[in-house]
Symmetry: C2
DNA sequence: CGATGGCGGATAACCGATTAACCTGGCGCT
DNA sequence: AGCGCCAGGTTAATCGGTTATCCGCCATCG
């Protein structure tokens, strides 16, 4: 910048002000300086500026895994919002490992992010998070740390689950399994609770044997459904922790000669793009991943602009999308009698 | 850091050296300093360090769109490699817009990245890229800027295409369409060339009417196949620019009462996760997106470590994965006669 | 006519690390 | 005793911007 200033015959300070269009600098001078910038191919050094101003115009996004379509969409949403406001996105992943999560948070803080959007790894302790929150604002991608005085945006596990189960009950199903997800995650617990409460409310027994935890992968769903089908009284429907698991369940069903949507209903969660493309198309609880990412970014930008704003907790609505994988049980019985 | 030094009763310089385990500092002193760090909750300021050392330990990744599964996997691969070496990933997207691409490159340079991994937007000019390359090393995610003296890692459009077409010919197909992709992209041109050359080499006419450009979306494939089916002598197979397009083609076929893999063969490109899950499962040219991301990151790290290393161009192997969507034409004819 | 007040710009301290160069006490050696 | 040398630190300049403060000059005003 000194070079630019010299070339324009002004001081470094003047150059600095001119580049940011400060009113103090006259038009002709500003133009001379801009010309010098072009001529010299000067590139502004944001890090140097950050050092002085203590604002980096960057925020970190810490998720478990980008290759998961849900997270990819979320990332896309967040990045778009941030870029629009001139912020950059530092991305890192934890593989749902607490240790790695700590390292990543530390790294981000060292890089002086203005804020951190975090999808906490399973088992993250409130105390640890609170410790980090001293250093920069956080937006949590989950609604389950309510004692933490942090902004958050989560999806509505509860309403979505209730709708899904009521839909299945409405179709005539009575033996409904709850499939997949890691046992310890708050999201799964919330959905499991809604699942159980809804059943009970409708006068249907809650059978613990029908809820099976699993890794969040197709394999997880595949294995789980195999297990379910060997039960003496197997379920006729599965409410799955995620679409990915639902896909696994449908594959498992097919392997057992059962087609989802005929004698067996399947409902997923997330509404990833493939859900509508699958054959049969997957009924699922839609959560708008991109919207969650956008919302998180917006919340962060607001928080940065106004640090003392009251804590905001956003629950993004989820809605049930009924497609072909969930069919009426009566229909299934009819088919069964025909074969 | 001054505070830490004071607390440990040493100078700032000593503290700095101690934190980086410089041999000059004795063990007891180092421990005292580390203790002070803990006690004060000090966080290292990487930006300040970068300012001085001119190394930010961060690299930028500029792609068109993260929500595309191929790019998401690529991103995951790159991030993992970089994180492993202590580098951070700045992610931004261009929506395949040249203007936005320029802005993003500029932003990244201002943020003082050590390198930039770029998937150039359609139509990016060599000259423009060369201009940016003065400022930091680039790794291009395409093999088609060979006059640019930049490291790159691309997929093997050619071999993959040849295999796919030969596979189809081997199955008895003679009217093979080439479907989808933006006309102007180098990748599409390369695949189109391989497609044509392979046909000709096998003594089959190349019919320009059988190659249809389209947006890279399901819709694009859907519309294209509709158009193909109205031809006087429609194709019996489609080689698609991407899996996404192939999905569209299969949907279009189904809408026309044709099931892919029976009277009509479909092959995609990318081998995205859903390819194996589709019904029928999609034959496709597999390219290992995550591997490309990892390779790009590794190349970048090597380049940073050794700036004068000769330019490296990596072509990641692609292989044909034969699944259910590509069936023998004879089989299709048999079926035709039966019906 | 001297005081006042802008305007447009210059000076220099500062942000938080890194590092070349310098300092010092103690030990071994001749 | 004198000298060199090393281990273990310290000093201060530096990276590239930002910004509080100061300055000179000219127009305006009572």
């Amino acid at each position: 910048m000194q070079d630019v200033a010299d070339a324009a015959g002004v001081s470094k300070a003047t150059a600095s002000l001119a580049l940011r269009n400060h009113a103090r600098i006259s038009e002709p001078t500003r133009l001379r300086i801009r010309a010098a910038v072009e001529a010299l191919g000067y590139v502004y050094n944001q890090s140097a500026a950050s050092l002085r101003t203590q604002r980096s115009y960057s925020v970190g996004l810490i998720i478990k895994d980008v290759s998961n379509p849900f997270n990819a969409e979320l990332t896309a949403g967040a990045e778009a919002q941030l870029a629009e406001q001139g912020y950059s996105l530092l991305l890192c992943t934890t593989d749902d490992d607490l240790d790695k999560q700590s390292r990543m948070i530390k790294t981000m803080l060292e890089r002086d992010v203005d804020g951190l959007i975090l999808s906490p790894a399973t088992g993250a302790r409130t105390g640890d998070l609170r410790k980090w929150m001293q250093y920069c604002p956080f937006v949590l991608l989950t609604p389950y740390y309510s004692d933490l005085a942090a902004d958050c945006v989560g999806m509505d596990d509860e309403k979505g689950s209730v709708r899904a189960i009521e839909h299945l009950i409405g179709l005539g199903h009575r033996r409904i399994a709850f499939v997949g997800g890691y046992d310890a995650t708050s999201s799964r617990r919330a959905r499991l609770r809604s699942y159980r409460d809804t059943l009970i409310k409708r006068g249907i027994d809650f059978d613990p044997a029908l809820s099976i935890a699993s890794p969040v992968s197709r394999r997880g769903g595949y294995d789980a459904v195999q297990q379910l089908l060997t039960m003496p009284e197997p379920p006729t429907a599965a409410y799955c922790f995620s679409d990915v698991i639902a896909f696994g369940v449908m594959l498992g069903l097919r392997a057992a000669g059962i087609e989802a949507g005929q004698s067996f209903a399947v409902i997923g969660f997330d509404d990833v793009e493939e859900a509508s493309l699958w054959h049969p198309s997957l009924s699922t609880v839609s959560t708008n991943a991109k919207g969650i990412g956008e919302q998180a970014a917006q919340l962060m930008l607001k928080r940065i602009a106004e640090p003392e704003m009251p804590v905001q907790r956003v629950i993004m609505p989820s809605r049930l999308v009924e497609r072909d994988s969930s069919a009426a049980l009566v229909h299934a019985l009819d088919q069964g009698e025909l074969s």
